[in-house]
Subunit: 202 residues, 2 copies
């Protein structure tokens, strides 16, 4: 792939999400791993990158154990001080894939539970998956916070009446100019503890 | 915009479709003109292109009267020879906008009717909009052909049991590597008459 790597990764990620949106809208669910594989095939076709089955599998494997940002573990440790908050990993990925990712990143033990959209057979930002999350987590929406770097996830959560924090890691990150804004915007997870301390119920 | 024009147009179009997919999936409909405007604002923010309200309106106006490819009018003229086929314009756009576009391109009179997804408050490829089309056009799916250059539309139509022809105008156009393929692929609309002649019911 070489010097085209940033373009390659960008198209792969964009198509992966597009495929999840379209399959959700079509009510024609295939799990997120399939969307990821299809998007990889699309990217190779589009960029005329001739990868072997073996090379594609290597890329998918690398994707499945991506490292986390430096601020993540300390932030999770701090959040553990909130005895009245439970921490969930809530993702488009399959349960086993999320678990595997968290274990590889050495942060699995900070989470109370994992909730995968696969159990609903749709994708974020379908309102059904946020409703399912609340039911599964046994939470009321007004006391629930979604934390995400993805604007589509923040907009989806707020549409479903949750609170949502947008993690805008770079000044170049753009939030969709829609009618919905994040409840709070932060630069990284180091800010999370203070922000939530001031917002949690007494 | 200058030399960044192809990038600008590409991001604008990609976001416009993403917004329609997401709003459809969210069951939080805003019409396609709003999606187009929001996508234009996103593109300006992303590329840090400081356009005035006036300049944005000029772009939106130009977009609303895009010219058609050279093969379109002759093809429509030929299709008129099929007395048992009706010709519909079926689009994500608002009724008035589609009508305006067809009038500007001098092809309005070749169409029997216009069907806009706005009447369903969702977007392609939601199965609901194809079902609505069949009902509105009073057609059975097995005798209905969608003709589109957009793979997402072709996949959506075939999922809803219509036949679909993919117009692959460039050898670099990529079809999504999903489980669904076009019924027929053609290079341009000049091929349409012959293809449909061989497929229509007697």
């Amino acid at each position: 792939v070489g010097s085209a790597a940033p373009t390659f990764v960008n198209i792969w990620r964009t198509k992966q999400l597009e495929y999840s949106f379209r399959r959700g809208l079509m009510r024609s669910y295939k799990n997120f791993s399939i969307c990821t594989q299809n998007a990889l095939d699309y990217t190779c076709n589009f960029l005329q990158t001739d990868l072997s089955k073996y090379e594609k599998n290597k890329l998918l494997e690398a994707y499945s154990i991506l490292p986390v940002f430096d601020d993540v573990e300390d932030s999770l440790k701090e959040l553990r001080n909130f005895k009245d908050f439970k921490i969930f990993a809530f993702s488009n990925g399959l349960f086993e894939n999320i678990k595997n990712l968290l274990i590889h990143a050495n942060i699995y033990n900070y989470f109370d539970e994992i909730v995968s959209v696969d159990e609903v057979k749709s994708f974020k930002p379908d309102p059904k998956v946020y409703e399912y999350f609340l039911q599964k987590a046994n939470c009321v929406s007004s006391q629930t916070w979604l934390i995400s770097a993805n604007p589509f996830d923040v907009i989806g959560a707020i549409s479903a009446d949750l609170n949502a924090i947008w993690v805008k890691r770079s000044e170049f990150d753009i939030f969709d100019p829609w009618e919905i804004k994040p409840t709070i915007t932060i630069k990284n997870l180091t800010e999370l503890y203070n922000v939530l301390k001031n917002r949690r119920r007494d």
